[in-house]
Symmetry: C2
């Protein structure tokens, strides 16, 4: 009989899912308990700080995801430049399920504890921004232009996701993602 019945990574996945779908205020302990299969008292055992600590933990996992699936890929010397960006964008499509899934960073950046999460959220966006900048500079753009284009790419991702979901049309998201390589100076 194992002591840990539910694996931490499964709990993490489910917590992320609930916060992403319902936001911080909408993610009740009851929902989090049902999704993870752990009773509320068990969740408090793993996260003594309660809901706030769970969300913070989710944000740390997302940061790790950005480091592994974006930053590391974009700086992987074993891949050609175009393939690195293609893989990073593939990861982003997966993260947002081609427009079906909300952005967890955005969902946690609103709500009653948003100030508490601000730093962790900004850190994730900065990883992405630096990655896109790196690509743009490798594509020959000067640093200030590369940074502006990287910001534009992030704006397109966030904005297109919102409009895709508001207008129930995922092609908005798909089109925006497809335009990013050219935006970052990639020549076809």
């Amino acid at each position: 009989m194992p002591v840990i019945k539910v694996f931490p990574q499964d709990v993490d996945r489910k917590l992320t899912e609930v916060f992403t779908r319902f936001g911080y205020d909408g993610a009740s302990m009851e929902l989090l308990s049902q999704a993870t299969g752990l009773k509320k008292a068990s969740l408090y055992h793993r996260f003594p700080g309660g809901k706030k600590e769970m969300a913070q933990h989710v944000l740390l996992n997302i940061r790790t995801w950005f480091l592994e699936r974006i930053d590391a890929v974009i700086r992987d010397p074993s891949l050609p430049l175009e393939a690195r960006l293609a893989e990073a964008l593939k990861a982003i499509r997966d993260l947002f399920e081609d427009g079906d899934r909300n952005c967890p960073l955005r969902m946690l950046s609103a709500g009653s504890e948003s100030a508490f999460f601000q730093e962790a959220i900004a850190a994730c966006f900065t990883i992405l921004s630096d990655g896109f900048s790196h690509i743009a500079m490798e594509n020959g753009l000067p640093e200030n232009v590369a940074k502006a284009k990287a910001m534009e790419a992030m704006i397109n991702i966030q904005g297109s996701l919102i409009l895709s979901r508001a207008l129930k049309d995922n092609t908005i998201f798909g089109t925006s993602i497809s335009a990013i390589p050219k935006l970052l100076g990639q020549r076809n």
Copy 2:
């Protein structure tokens, strides 16, 4: 002694403010009561459907705002084309307080009743989209291009607002708004 102590338009403003700052789930009846200066029972007298009806009412007001401050301005024949767009963009800067204020449409598009509000939110975005398209076509762009550029402009507004607030840098929002006239085919 007036029967109505608090004017409806003041109540509407405060309700909008609370929903915009805290989102649907974060906007408690207590917060809404304190902000409006009306006790909870009085709010229920004005909005028998409770919080859901208040948010729906807020969305109808926003739709009116878009019709008056965006649609009417953009189609105002007494103004030159560039001035119409400039005034509409000024209204948008005001609406979002140059990046300090969340988008009420976005804040209501997430949360436990998001499906209920979806149609009203999409209607507002459509007014803006049609207005931007109109400008772009008047600037000589073909319809399909105009529609794509209009969508891009809305994506830039929503995305830049999110990143401005996440990174605490309102120049992101300002820069994106400034770029919209050129995006919609305006020649300087």
